[in-house]
């Protein structure tokens, strides 16, 4: 009881400090914090689905981009909260279709499909804008400054981690843990595999869509190529896996060092950035699929056992 109270106080204090960040940071620092909160949301949402199911999804930017692009289309005609609702609805609808259509694909086929999905959505929107509306490129006029966007993303990141925490207490969380351990046992215990996975995929995709929608006013001018940038998908996977996709705080912890690393890499080696990114993706996906934290823990546990023996 007291532990829970202390934990809650610590979380609130942390949130309060983070909420005060705009008072201390300049425009560059705050921009960095905006990206940070965006990636904390994306990586945590990604892990919500991919952690227990072990599907490596590269569809992150499909949903993120849909969020951003929906705001670009509707920001002048609908009130902001409605724009967000429209964005979530489109993201969730797409995730439902994609979920039921693809979750029976195994391993690498799912990776390829999810990557293709983001490209497909981008090409479809581009085609539609060029041939039907004749307006490739849109402007977002919303009265938000960087700090307003930051606060919204901070709230979204907190809600996302909160949802992750809440799921762990529910039947859904238990079902996911079983699926993560052994799908066959899960099915024979009465757990509906497809429905459970699609539910999680939709929840995860909705949060990603919202992250894109909220962050979009930062760009002012939006084209499909900007908001459907595949780098976002790859970064999300690396961050979530680095910290450990099966832990609640793992993905968030993975974001911080990688944000700093990538900020430095893209400034110092802009031409080789994507090589680093690809190498890192392969390294982490193949060598440390359970995350760096858990690899370190396993190593430490083994050392301790050997020391005791």
């Amino acid at each position: 009881m007291t532990r829970t109270v202390l934990f809650a106080i610590a979380i609130l204090a942390g949130l309060a400090i983070l909420a005060l960040a705009p008072a201390f940071l300049g425009e560059y620092g705050l921009g960095f914090m905006v990206s940070l909160m965006s990636y904390v949301t994306l990586a945590t949402a990604w892990a919500m689905f991919s952690g227990p199911t072990r599907y490596i999804s590269l569809a992150t930017v499909a949903f993120f981009g849909i969020g951003a692009y929906t705001v670009a289309v509707f920001n002048e005609t609908l009130p902001y909260p409605f724009v967000l609702i429209v964005a979530i609805s489109i993201g969730a609808l797409l995730a439902t279709f994609v979920g039921f259509a693809t979750l029976r694909l195994a391993g690498v086929y799912f990776v390829i499909f999810s990557f293709g999905l983001a490209e497909l959505v981008r090409q479809l929107i581009t085609w539609f804008e060029v041939n039907i509306t004749g307006t490739l490129g849109r402007y977002i006029f919303l009265p938000f400054e960087t700090r307003h966007i930051y606060w919204q993303l901070l709230a979204l990141a907190a809600v996302t981690i909160g949802i992750g925490f809440w799921i762990r207490q529910t039947r859904l969380g238990l079902a996911l843990k079983v699926i993560g351990d052994d799908e066959l046992v899960a099915a024979h215990s009465g757990i509906a595999l497809a429905r459970t996975k699609v539910l999680l995929f939709v929840l995860s995709a909705s949060l990603m869509t919202l992250a894109g929608a909220i962050q979009s006013p930062r760009w002012v001018y939006i084209e499909p190529a900007i908001v459907f940038n595949p780098t976002i998908s790859f970064l999300t996977v690396i961050m979530a896996l680095l910290g450990g996709a099966t832990r609640l705080w793992g993905p968030a912890l993975g974001v911080i060092p990688l944000m700093i690393l990538f900020e430095w890499l893209s400034a110092s080696f802009p031409d080789h950035f994507s090589i680093f990114l690809g190498a890192m993706f392969i390294l982490i996906v193949f060598l440390l699929p359970k995350g760096v934290l858990s690899a370190v823990e396993t190593r430490l546990a083994r050392l301790k056992r050997e020391a005791n023996a």
Binding site: L184, S189, L193
Partner: protein, 243 residues
């Protein structure tokens, strides 16, 4: 009285191979039936068909008159079929108690709240794991892992229990314990289909046996008669057979 489990014309083809060929038998409520046959004769495949891990190429499988053939494994589990696996499958990241909680929460009864723990613990005690509830299954001995798998199947509170060589790999004293445990389950009125190679166990547990060879039913009747049946003896010749 109608059959609790009724198989009619059940077949399963894998590409060219017919692993199960027009199998047909009934099991009454409360009955314990042995499923015998040499290695590769299709016993595990038949268990997979009944439990929904595989769907039959043809035929019907009825529980209480309701055809479940081709339904998903989770639907069949909720219809009252529980199973163990020939190679033990425990949930490694969850405690012994959590392992047993899963079917209590998601099975036919879909219990809620503290009832889940109560059901899980009841069945852990029944198999003799009451004092190991907080251990990780990886720390259990082989027989205890098998017990855990049985407790997990029982926590679903099934109508039919499918045991795939649950007694295999036990030492002689463990085997006696195992046989006593299954006897006790049957005395509570549970219906059991038991795949088994150990003839001592079959004789002790099953008044009736069905025998498969190369996917086909070759005998169905009282255990003594079935084991003396020349077709059954011929099927087992050449197969290592510990009678």
């Amino acid at each position: 009285m109608t059959a609790l489990l009724k198989l009619a014309d059940v077949s399963k083809r894998f590409d060219g191979l017919v692993a199960v060929n027009q199998m047909k038998f009934d099991i009454k409520k409360g009955e314990i039936v042995g499923l015998l046959g040499p290695n590769g004769s299709g016993k595990t495949t038949l268990i997979n068909l009944i439990s929904g891990a595989l769907s039959p190429s043809q035929g019907s499988i009825c529980i209480n008159g309701k055809n479940i053939a081709g339904k998903r494994a989770d639907q069949i589990a909720r219809a009252g079929v529980a199973r163990t696996f020939q190679l033990v499958r425990i949930l490694p990241s969850m405690t012994v108690l959590e392992n047993a909680r899963v079917p209590a929460a998601f099975g036919a009864k879909a219990h809620r709240g503290s009832e889940i723990d109560r059901i899980a613990l009841t069945h852990l005690k029944k198999v003799g794991l009451g004092d190991k509830a907080d251990m990780m299954p990886g720390e259990l001995t082989y027989i205890d892992q098998k017990r855990l798998e049985l407790a997990r199947a029982l926590a679903a509170e099934p109508e039919v229990l499918l045991l795939d060589e649950w007694l295999a790999g036990l030492n002689p004293s463990e085997l006696q314990d195992g046989i006593a445990l299954i006897k006790e389950l049957q005395s509570t009125g549970l219906t059991i289909l038991l795949v088994e190679h150990i003839m001592e166990a079959v004789r002790a547990l099953c008044p009736r046996c069905v025998v498969m060879n190369a996917g086909t039913l070759i005998a169905d009747g009282p255990t003594n008669e079935v084991l003396a049946n020349p077709d059954v003896v011929a099927a087992y010749l050449g197969d290592e057979y510990d009678a």
